[in-house]
């Protein structure tokens, strides 16, 4: 093929693989739309807001606030929570907040160290207040 612009960013047709690869390295990656500037999660090949396929990857700085929370009590294991967190760049994701179950509105932070592993999963921890 000729005439293809070589400087255009590649259209990432394996966004889930790109996301998982980042997570393995402790990065919380997300896509932002070049057309409408909206950040979104989970990663896809088009913007769910405007439909544009012109997207670019960013890495979250990791701050967030708990939007909702529930806790479950398995018969044969320790209780754990499931949270929906509004991440500072403007997207929401499901996660678990490690340690104490947070209340809605609690500031939390992506915990890269606890997220990596053979089956990486993005977890958060309650934000330590640096005063």
């Amino acid at each position: 093929m000729t005439g293809e612009p070589t400087d255009a960013p590649a259209w990432d047709l394996t966004p889930t693989a790109t996301y998982v690869e980042g997570l393995r390295r402790g990065l919380l990656r997300f896509l932002r739309c070049d057309a409408c500037a909206r950040a979104f999660f989970y990663p896809r090949v088009l913007c769910p807001n405007c439909g544009s396929a012109a997207l670019h990857w960013e890495e979250s700085r990791g701050g967030g606030v708990v939007y909702s929370v529930t806790e479950v009590f398995p018969k044969d294991a320790e209780p754990y929570n499931i949270c929906l967190v509004d991440v500072q760049e403007g997207f929401r994701m499901a996660t678990t907040v490690l340690g104490a179950t947070p209340a809605i509105g609690t500031p939390v932070r992506f915990d890269a160290e606890s997220s990596v592993g053979d089956e990486p999963r993005p977890v958060f921890a309650i934000e330590e207040r640096a005063s």
């Binding site: 479950v72 499931i82 499901a94």
Partner: protein, 388 residues
């Protein structure tokens, strides 16, 4: 809205049927339950099965319509039925009404059967609820579907001050309606305290906030208003229908306190030319107690944030200000995997005036289906002859 507006009063439910429900043991197959309900619905309609030319069904298999048509000996010319969760059957009603009103078919069968309770005893509960190729929620082990609805309940409590007691009153009311229904699976009286102090499923919801897991099947026959005139039972006319869905996974729901029922309800009411104040009886898909609060708000029976107060203290119980889930609902009547068809069989019984807990003078009944995790929302309005 123009295409939708043309449906009003053109199609009617002329037959309903339900199989045995409850705990039916390991030998009753899902498709046998569907068959039993279908026999009853056809007899109720006074129609032979060969008059069915459109089929919408689910029996829990990947090619349900093929299984069901083969089993029933049908040769449909129109085979429909997107799987959108428990609301599917209300969606089927909408789509079947379009097919009938357009003249593509004359008579539709909508049918369901599920031996859910038997399956549970064989398999136990699975902690999953996601079937994506790669799930962004899967690693966090939501106790599906309770956790998804619990997240919505927690957020509603946070934003509007809805109390645990108000949410519990939805279950209390459902049990009071069930006490009036001989077929209800669970009739034992239930108090607010019982609900709140029961085993936690996923905070803030307990096991008493959750729908039943039963066996059961149901079926409904739909035909043109013109043909309905010649059939034995009073037609329950489709006055309006609307559907909407915005997400599948709970983390993708834009606002956990507002469901797509705001759209499905508005579409159904616009088609019917009616408002919530015109509705005499309401059937809401109460997979969990919080559903009733969300849907009463989103369908316009009360303002956003006021659902808790609306349902509290017997507001939707017998003798309350709005009769809701008059058969006992999914929480106390029956819930065989998917409840959507049972919303409509009860709505039709109420319009006919033959429900076990009949509300006096019903002309308009609303059935609202929910599917997935507050995902698919489908609303249907049924009316008596007097509403045409």
């Amino acid at each position: 809205m123009s295409a939708g507006a043309s449906l009003r009063g053109k199609v009617a439910v002329v037959g309903i049927g339900e199989s045995d429900i409850g705990d039916l043991g390991p030998d009753r197959l899902s498709i046998d339950l569907l068959g039993q309900a279908t026999v009853e619905a056809l007899a109720d309609a006074g129609l032979a099965k060969d008059s069915i030319d459109g089929l919408w069904s689910n029996v829990g298999t990947t090619m349900s319509n093929l299984d069901v048509a083969e089993y029933l000996g049908l040769r449909p010319r129109y085979s429909g039925g997107a799987m959108v969760g428990g609301s599917s059957f209300v969606s089927h009603l909408y789509h079947a009404a379009v097919a009938i009103a357009s003249g593509e078919i004359e008579t539709a069968l909508i049918a369901y059967g599920s031996a859910s309770r038997a399956a549970r005893s064989r398999l136990g509960f699975r902690r999953s609820g996601v079937s994506e190729e790669y799930s962004y929620e899967g690693p966090f082990k939501l106790m599906a579907p309770a956790s998804q609805y619990a997240l919505a309940a927690a957020r509603h409590m946070y934003e509007f001050g809805t109390t645990r007691e108000q949410i519990a009153d939805v279950a209390v009311a459902s049990r009071q309606w069930a006490a009036l229904n001989p077929r209800a699976f669970t009739k034992k009286p239930l108090t607010r305290e019982d609900v709140i102090t029961s085993r936690i499923m996923s905070t803030p919801l307990t096991v008493r906030d959750c729908c039943l897991v039963t066996d059961g099947g149901a079926a409904l026959v739909l035909t043109s208003a013109e043909r309905a005139k010649d059939l034995p039972r009073p037609p329950a006319y489709v006055l309006g229908a609307g559907e909407a869905h915005w997400h599948r996974q709970i983390s993708q729901m834009p606002d956990l306190t507002t469901t797509a029922a705001v759209d499905s309800g508005a579409r159904a009411f616009a088609m019917a030319g009616l408002a919530p104040g015109d509705v005499d009886v309401v059937q809401l898909y109460d997979a969990f107690t919080i559903n009733a609060i969300l849907f009463l708000e989103d369908l316009g029976f009360c303002a956003k944030g006021e659902g808790g107060a609306f349902v509290a203290d017997g507001g939707i119980a017998p003798g309350g200000h709005l009769p809701v889930n008059t058969n006992g609902g999914g929480i106390s009547y029956t819930h065989p995997g998917m409840y959507g068809l049972f919303l409509m069989t009860e709505a039709v019984r109420q319009v006919r005036g033959e429900a076990p807990a009949q509300v006096p003078g019903v002309d308009v009944a609303l059935a609202h289906g929910n599917g997935g995790y507050l995902s698919s929302q489908v609303t249907a309005l049924f009316g008596s002859q007097a509403t045409l």
